[in-house]
């Protein structure tokens, strides 16, 4: 099983980049993977990814990224701070290993956002960056 997990909130402009990425990519020919939408990661997601061969976390990024997006391996983060408000993907990978003894392959797709207001829809800048990230990802299909 392969999983894409989009993290964010589509009611907060570009914070919804992870979700919109999933909305678009699932319509691509050749795409076959489970998709999950999350406002934030939770501890129980460790169990979810323990059943996966490969997982890709897709999230918006507050800083500046050359080219507007970044795709990289997701590293296990044993020293992460565990909170109910913020749980980074690396911490989920760590919990997955510790609790379930599983080591799924994991990547991180980060897309730079610009606007974080209480509105639906992406900013024009984020739309352009999303397009680039999708173009990059299409080359990986069939995923």
């Amino acid at each position: 099983m392969r999983i894409l997990i989009g993290i964010g909130n589509s009611g907060r402009n570009d914070d919804g980049l992870g979700w919109v990425f999933l909305d678009r990519i699932k319509q691509e020919a050749g795409f076959s993977a489970d998709i999950e939408y999350r406002y934030q990661l939770q501890v129980e997601d460790a169990e979810l990814i323990s059943r996966a061969k490969h997982v890709i976390f897709v999230d918006s990024y507050h800083g500046v990224l050359p080219g507007g997006f970044k795709f990289e391996p997701c590293k296990v983060a044993p020293d992460s701070v565990f909170t109910s408000h913020v749980l980074p993907p690396g911490a989920i990978l760590h919990l997955c290993r510790e609790l379930y003894g599983k080591k799924p392959g994991a990547d991180l797709m980060l897309i730079q956002g610009s606007s974080w207001e209480l509105h639906s829809g992406l900013s024009p800048e984020a739309e352009i960056r999303l397009g680039r990230a999708l173009e990059f990802f299409r080359k990986k299909l069939p995923f």
Binding site: Y39, V43, A46, R51, V81, S84, H85, E98
Partner: protein, 480 residues
Amino acid sequence: MIDPVTRVEGHGRVTVQLDEAGNVDQARFHVVEFRGFERFIQGHPYWEAPLLVQRLCGICPVSHHLAAAKAVDQIYGVDPRDLHPTATMIRRLLHYAQLFQSHALHFFYLASPDLLFGMEAPVEKRSVGAVAMEHGDLARKGIQMRQFGQELIKALAGKKIHGITAVPGGIHKTFYPEERDYFLSDNVTPSVDTMIQWSQEVVTFIKDYHDKNFMWLDSFASYPSGHLGLVGTDGALELYDGRMRAIDSRGEVTLNDVDNDSYLKYFGEGVEKWSYMKFPFLRHLGRQHGWNRVGPLARLNVCDSISTPLANAELREFKAYTNGRPNNHTMHSHWARLIEILHCAEQIRNLLNEPRLLEEVERPPVSRRPEGIGIIEAPRGTLIHHYKADEKGSITKCNLIVSTTHNNEPMNRAVRWVAKNVLDQQKAITDGMLNQVEVAIRAYDPCLSCATHAMGQMPLKLTVFDADGAVVAEHVKHPV
């Protein structure tokens, strides 16, 4: 000042004021967000209320969804007792799933680090991550219990957070056999029978823990108080639709099984300039004496019995510990919460086996009304939603008294207890001491975002001031 208080849902702060001799002069629990939902929902169609108001919270949206639904049912023209039986079953099933997952979240993710590692444990130990590392079996069960509740919510509401189940006078969709059967058998998510078994195990865990730690569990942040909750017509614990009962710290009835419609007659709300959270109280007892705890401990105190056998046996044991008198031990809230987990698991199994659960629901013909009041027992306690609508169906008034708001005065009392008994006359305030303030608050599983109807990430802080107003100690952490 503890700022932020952590492993609670929401943002608040605690201030402790010392006098010149170093004694605690004043201790307060402040909630500093602005509440806005009651105002900005005005003008929206009444049927939108269950959808909009659940956005108050990401943890207990189902509770707000159902309380609002019960209220707008009445505006639509249907009383709870006249709702189609299947609609009532589906809503109850959703409600028990919500209570089950929320209680699991609180016990396993938020409270268990204090119990397993101690209140003085280093901060890196005080998290569900550390529980996962050192108590893997407990953590795995906790995760799957929460997951069970979440998956059941998703099956009924379409998604785990902010889904749709209730519509005015009915339900949004029929529950199908294959959806029901998933929860009756072991799959990726274990069956409801497994949930009952694990719930019994975790009740046994807390009783064993109590046997070994009763000295501090019985004394820590304990104080006499009133207790408020819903009961059925037979006096049994009622979580979805019942009458309000309150008792004082000696067990005398102070609110005698009154109907939901009369809540305004009995409840007032006090305000303090240092907090956005109000202070509800029983009008006939006054602001000083009319406040009540709500939530699992209060509910088990006010009810006479529980309708499911396993939980009822645990209730009898729980009540026997205080010889049938009200239990005012704040830390016993965790014990009570786990008995409720067991009750919810039993109720979920009962409902999943109800033949009528799968029927299609038709909404009855109705006559519109101008007002509706919905009261349920949310995970954290009694939750009141009250709406008025004009002839076009637009909401003209909304009043929400949220569980955590009832617990405002009790949490302040708990903070004062810790300040007096732990911080008083200490030359140095340690991190472990300050964590004890949080432990006392955490026993109430407060949801401060609900209580203020605020949005965003909301942590909590604590500061100790000396008599001159200088900061003696400060506790600042990221929200957990």
